[in-house]
Symmetry: C2
Subunit: 235 residues, 2 copies
């Protein structure tokens, strides 16, 4: 049975890395002594080693050992043998490129569909949707495809940001960008605010955290969904 946490962000304002999620993660990964970490998204360009260190320190607090996928000789075996898997945030274009280059996009999807507990934050959450086409990231590298894991039947926009009515900036709002997506794509998009996450158990998808999420559908007005809403109907 699928068991997935899909978080908008790793870190909330004023908090430290993963802190707000640790109680949840302790339950989510209760059967794991070790965690396989996928550091490919390299936030701010940091190395796989640096990134894995940060993650190790956070999971040490709940007594879980972390090993980066770059430390294994064979990435496919690493995924198939993992007790639990975490894909961290950073740049989604880079993450997706590396997943394809290492031939593990499908392998990862299969492992998670078969029940390996998974955590994604930010870019690592983006790839849980059907495509990475609603990422906020810069296209710093050209991926072989925009298709991603398809663990849920809609797309995600992590770090969802409401329009700032005081702003004098003329660049597109997040809502406008998602509207542009819907000029060409029918997939629903869930704007997940920082501090929200989806809890997936089998086919059930529940919105967690204290904030509402914003659901965008092609040719429809966006809709605010309250915490605890069950989302498997969205497709």
């Amino acid at each position: 049975m699928k068991s997935i946490i899909i978080a908008s962000t790793s870190t909330i304002h004023g908090g430290s890395y993963l802190d707000y999620l640790l109680p949840e993660l302790q339950v989510h990964f209760k059967n794991c002594n070790t965690l396989l970490f996928i550091p490919f998204a390299r936030p701010g360009g940091i190395s796989h080693e640096q990134y894995t260190n940060t993650v190790s320190q956070a999971f040490e607090k709940i007594n879980i050992k972390v090993k980066g996928i770059h430390e294994f000789e064979d990435a496919i075996t690493a995924i198939n043998n993992a007790e639990g898997i975490f894909t961290g945030g950073g740049n989604t274009f880079l993450l997706v490129t590396q997943l394809y280059k290492n031939n593990i996009m499908t392998v990862l999807a299969e492992a998670v569909k078969n029940g390996t507990p998974y955590l994604g934050t930010s870019a690592g959450s983006n790839i849980c949707g059907l495509s990475m086409q609603t990422t906020n990231d810069m296209p710093i590298i050209y991926p072989p495809s925009f298709q991603t894991l398809g663990l849920i039947p809609f797309n995600l926009n992590p770090h969802y940001l409401d329009p700032d009515s005081q702003s004098k900036h003329m660049g597109e709002t997040r809502e406008t960008r998602i509207k542009e997506f819907h000029a060409f794509n029918t997939l629903p998009v869930l704007g997940l605010r920082e501090g929200s996450w989806l809890d997936v158990k089998g086919n059930q998808i529940v919105l967690k955290g204290n904030l509402s999420a914003r659901l965008f559908r092609q040719n429809q007005e966006p809709e605010e969904l309250a915490p605890q809403t069950e989302l498997s109907y969205v497709q």
Copy 2:
């Protein structure tokens, strides 16, 4: 001789479409009775017709007739016969996809290099760099390549936005995103604030408007460049 205006935005806060640039455009397009408009970026998903209407109304004020490239039977001939060309903003992924699909990426570059006066705003400016990899836009469609016109020897980030020190948002700042680009790419990136534009005459590239621009280079501290700086040394 190349004659290009590369503007960060079409519209500044409180202004109407292209208003702030019209005095400049009157000079830039002084030998043009008609302008070829490329509406492919479709901001907010509007149609080619709607977009071309908006542009026509703005250029009517300086007595220039506008025709959209979608109105021509042959896009290549339209570009080669154009007195002047304007590519408007919107979604850069869509714009680049359409330029490739219509086989006019190279044709457009050649026409502008050979002296057809060109105006780009936002996405239409992004494509003046060597690649579209420093766009802010959402990847709503998968382009055949990220390579663009290469009219200047560096990349652009239009609508450049300084980090907001009051913000509680944890998504990446523009500066962090460009730093991620520089983890994999050596090209300099010019962050062009709204209200700024580059005036290109042959090999000379001059920063115009009242604001400074922010220059990012791999492994270097960003640098503020004053208005009127000549930028052809940046490569």
